[in-house]
Amino acid sequence: MATHVRAEAPPARPAWRSRLYRFDLKASPYAFIAPFFLCFAAFGLFPLIWTGWLSLHYVDLLKPDVMEWRGFGNYTRLWSNDQFWTALRNTFTIGVISTVPQLLMALGLAHLLNFRMRGRGFFRVAILAPYATSIAAATLVFVQLFNPDYGFVNWMLDAVGIHPNWYADTWPSQIAISTIVTWRWTGYNALIYLAAMQAVPKDLYEAASLDGANRWQQFVRITIPSIRPTIMFTIIVSTIGATQLFGEPMLFGGGVGVSGGSAHQFQTLSLYLYELGWPSRQLGRASAVAWTMLLLLLLIGLAQYLITRYRKRHELGG
């Protein structure tokens, strides 16, 4: 009897413990990811849907509880609104002239930083320094540097005899804003590329240089293909950033009153959204702009996905 009990008792505790162990194994992953998804649901997903609902209504900023059903009226109104198209075009052009040079320069810089050299710690920290500068501070500095009367840039350009007005004209103002974006982000992207480049096996370069490939050929044939996923990642992140551009054009225009220039020559979609929602107090129309931005990003994402898929197939076929 006594032996029977003794034989029975020991497995009882491990059974309890192993059930606890299995519960821990099963539940803890969900517990670890829960904070992210809870916060996202509360501060990301829920507002996202709410914005969609608002975009179908007329809502005044000062009387937000009074909602008047509009259907897709806010969207059709955007479609026939010149200012919306200007903002969309500006967002696109500023996005292209800031993202493309920025990523190309970052790629080149990363390649240079990957060499063995003296003082490379200094160079790496130096090109990352602009990243530590805020949008507000950077824009204020560049507003000074681009000042048409006494700015540093025009003082230098005097030597070649051109004197652009960096505020009043469309292309100069957009180039100036893109310069701020490029200045702040090139070094950051260069370091991300550098991280990827350092994982490329060194023997590949050794073999290539033994085969007589010069540095340019090595860069094009080995480096670029090896870090293609990272390049895709930075393209996507920069595209998202460019779509959301707000602080630079806003502060470049000199504050709250001026919305992206006297003729909206550098008004972006975000700035247009802000102008509709706050100074004009029309939350419904601002929400429609917000959702249009999301749809645009989804379209761009889809296009990028299709391009990569096409490329992959093409490469496998060839």
Binding site: C39, M117, A129, Q144, Q198
Partner: protein, 304 residues
């Protein structure tokens, strides 16, 4: 700790480097990754372009307004820095702003690092149903513009009477998809499965594994992520600008007030002083920790 940072391939490459072919091909093979003069010149220009606007901020901030508005612009610092700082302090509440930004960026960085490490560990090393789908969802959330949530968040904040309170800036930023992705990438490479299994055999539950295995190994990546998030939060503009006022601003909101005035009587030097005061804390952190941050980024913590 440094060893855990380097990627397996980089570690594998080191011995190969020592066994470089000798004789005829030695020079070419050994020099393939050595910088030539062109690289120094190009990087020198890049460093100059990166640092010049920062230097010029200091020049302008230490000058009088008239001196800044001269052509050619001044190139050496003046002696007005202290005067300008006091004026900037009077125009915008820079003291409150600096304190507020520190509190906001500190809270956001701490919570993002903590939650991202937990979620990143789960996605990198634990098996559970729906893992891949949920990870895709995390990455997909990165594409959602923050502008999409601004209007409802603004209503929630005003309903709760949180307008102008710091929690309305902190709460929406407690987690970041980028952080989860960042920590997952790092832990997938740096944390061997064997360590977790060994800890489990020793009877450690998941919380103990987090504390005694994951946190110590993830520490360098956590530090880098913390810095990146701190910088990003410090520099965040759109949402704080919408929800805070000049009575209780963060640095960026205060700066927008100094720069946002109208008319010709604004003192440009004072504006630049504001920009300097808002950037200096971060630049100081960069000057001290820059090498570690750069080292953390480039040693493979951010790979996609």
């Amino acid at each position: 700790m440094a060893a855990t940072l380097s990627t397996p391939s980089a570690r594998g490459a080191r011995p190969a480097e020592q066994e470089r072919p000798r004789g005829l091909f030695r020079r070419r093979a050994g020099d393939h990754d050595k910088a030539g003069p062109v690289a120094y010149v190009l990087l020198g220009i890049a460093a100059l372009v990166s640092l010049f606007p920062l230097y010029w901020t200091f020049v302008a901030a230490s000058s009088t307004g008239e001196r800044v508005a001269q052509s050619p612009p001044p190139m050496v610092p003046g002696g007005e820095l202290w005067n300008n700082i006091t004026t900037a302090w009077d125009q915008a509440d820079m003291g409150t702003a600096l304190l507020n930004s520190t509190v906001v960026a500190g809270c956001v960085a701490l919570s993002t690092v903590l939650f991202s490490t937990l979620a990143g560990f789960a996605f990198a090393k634990l098996r559970f149903r729906g893992r891949n789908a949920l990870l895709t969802l995390v990455v997909a959330t990165m594409t959602i513009p923050p502008q999409l949530s601004v209007i409802p968040l603004y209503r929630i904040v005003t309903k709760l009477d949180w307008g102008n309170h710091l929690q309305s800036v902190i709460l929406p930023s407690l987690v970041a998809a980028f952080g989860v992705f960042f920590m997952r990438q790092f832990l997938s490479e740096a944390l061997p499965f064997e360590l977790i299994e060994a800890a489990r055999v020793d009877g450690a539950n998941s919380l103990r594994i987090i504390w005694h295995v994951v946190f110590p190994i993830a520490r360098p990546a956590m530090a880098v992520l913390g810095m990146l998030v701190f910088v990003q939060s410090w520099n965040d503009f759109f949402w704080p600008f919408v929800v805070l006022t000049q009575q209780n601003p963060t640095v960026q909101v205060a700066l927008s007030a100094i720069g946002g005035g109208s008319g010709h009587d604004i003192n440009q030097a004072v504006i630049m002083t504001g920009a300097l005061v808002g950037t200096l804390p971060l630049l100081l952190i960069f000057a001290v920790l820059g090498k570690h941050i750069v080292g953390g980024i480039t040693s493979g913590a951010v790979k996609s």
